[in-house]
Amino acid sequence: MIAKIRSILKSEKVIVLCSVILCVLLFIAIFAPWLVPNDPTFVNLAVKLQSPSLDYPLGTDHLGRCTFSRILYGARISLGFAILIFISSLSIGLIVGIIAGYRGGWVDQLLMRFGDGVMAFPNLLLVLGLVGIWGAGLKQVILALIFVQWVYYARVIRGMVLSLKEQNYITAARISGSSQWTIMKKHVIPNVLPPLAVMGTLEMGWAIMDLSSMSFLGLGVQPPTPEWGAMIHEGKSYIRTNPELMLYPGLMIMLVVITFNLLGEALSERFGIKRR
């Protein structure tokens, strides 16, 4: 058992490292309310723009709010919305992909041509266009991000449904009397999971990047909510005196996006999956 774990650690260094970082971030995101030393939105002008101290480990911002607490809470917001976008787009993608794959014919054609249309345009351009039409706000941004992301899942799932329909080993398993559940567990899920995992990790990275870009522009998460992109937007006016206000949140975005990208690339190499 221990030898096995050790060999996994050795051969899959990147995957293990990225997973550990993501687990730590997820832990921070879930337990942020108990981990933070101060209330991240509590304004106290008496202690504004302070340097790091025991009370404020990373100092305070222009409204005297604890930067460290805001960074930790930022993980909650970014990862939380990224997971929400992931689950929603995956669910829509599953439904559309399975319908298109099983039904085929004009339903398939219609759904997939629509998907092609969405994919033809760069994600952020579509998101901006949709937000422009629907109006600024977090709800609209999240909806727009889901709107551009479900297509990718739908395509992959449709492809998998089509190829699984034709596989001889599934027919063979059915003829030899395996139950639906056994077929699912032994043949379908192991085939379906790796490509979805790869896509999910890469798309999560994009979702976090796009959401923080929108918040930076002032269209997504609104202050005083501690979101990293919005924090950079607030911190930019203090670039001469307190550059760390925009430095820390940017580092966090980069850390998360790099981790997701590295993990996605390592997973796709590990399972031999071609991306997009």
Binding site: F121, K236, G250, M254, V257
Partner: protein, 314 residues
């Protein structure tokens, strides 16, 4: 060849009509009433009477089909209506801001091409060398760094600390350096990776082996055979990226207070300036569609195999 080009150009018309239909539909489905948005934007208290009057003025009381046809007709004459905020024709406002954005786009494209062609090419022919590792790290960082943050990092190091370039605004070439660089880094990341992969692939081709056995100089092989063909995927990447570049300009213009088209669009979103938003969306789609067409034709010229393939499909 001539008919192929003509067909490709004619194919644009239905695509663009579809885009206008979608934009029109979305704006109509959106919960915002343009008449109300106009009154709010001009600081007038909306009353039922005023709303009805404005609806009539904007033609919103007519059937949807008539509205759509009217929109198409005026758009084809570059009439995008008047801005709710300034009351000036939208096209005038947009075209006066275009040069700044185009300047930024070309600046960054130039940097991206000048850096990524030698870097990607060298990384490809000297696989696993120091320059290859450098190009891979650069590609990775370039793809993962948020561009608005990168912009502030540049401002911090080059303007605040070293005082080499101005923080924001437009004017001299010095103003152009930092915004273009910010916009160029993700492109450099992408193009370097594309070119490297395609150089590696091309080195495996039989015609390279044949050229070598014929005793042709290595330099000539690299220049005439490898680089010329390897550049083709990069051109595709260029076309696909013009749209990304457009969103990039929005963010970079916000960071550097660049008085371009992107910043105007963001302001329009905040003010719910519907004609400006519609103009931006349609223009973005048009630029995207046209740039793809031009890239396709350019590629056909460089690599004639493509047009033959295209003709076989027809």
């Amino acid at each position: 060849m001539g008919t192929y080009i003509l067909k490709r150009i004619l194919a644009i018309i239905p695509i663009f009509l579809l885009v206008t239909l979608l934009t029109f539909g979305m704006i109509n489905l959106s919960p915002v009433d343009p008449a109300e948005a106009y009154l709010v934007a001009s600081h007038i208290q909306p009353t039922d009477e005023l709303l009805a009057q404005k609806r009539q003025e904007f033609g919103l009381d007519q059937p949807l089909l008539t509205q759509y046809v009217n929109t198409i007709v005026s758009i084809s004459q570059f009439d995008f209506g008047k801005s709710y905020i300034t009351n000036k024709p939208v096209w005038e406002e947009v075209s006066s801001r275009m040069p700044a954005t185009i300047q930024l786009t070309f600046g960054s494209l130039l940097i991206a091409i000048v850096v990524s062609i030698p870097l990607g090419f060298l990384a490809g022919i000297k696989k696993n060398s120091a320059i290859d590792h450098f190009s891979r790290i650069l590609s990775f960082i370039g793809a993962s760094i948020p561009s608005f943050w990168l912009g502030y990092l540049f401002i911090f190091f080059f303007s605040v600390k070293l005082d080499l370039f101005p923080v924001e605004g437009i004017g001299t070439w010095k103003h152009l350096v930092l915004p273009s660089l910010t916009l160029a880094l993700p492109l450099i990341a992408l193009y370097t990776r594309l070119l490297r992969a395609s150089v590696l692939e091309n080195l495996q081709e039989p015609y390279i082996l044949f050229a070598r056995t014929r005793g042709i100089q290595e330099k000539a092989i690299m220049g005439k055979h490898v680089l010329k063909i390897a550049i083709s995927p990069m051109i595709t990447g260029l076309g696909m990226n013009l749209g990304k570049l457009m969103t990039g300009t929005i963010i970079v213009e916000a960071v550097f207070s660049w008085p371009g088209f992107g910043r105007y669009f963001i302001e329009a979103i905040f003010n719910r300036d519907v004609p400006v938003i519609q103009c931006y969306v349609l223009l973005a789609a048009a630029i995207f569609i046209f740039s793809n067409l031009i890239i396709d034709l350019l590629q056909m010229y460089i690599d004639p195999r493509i047009s033959r393939k295209g003709r076989q499909h027809q």
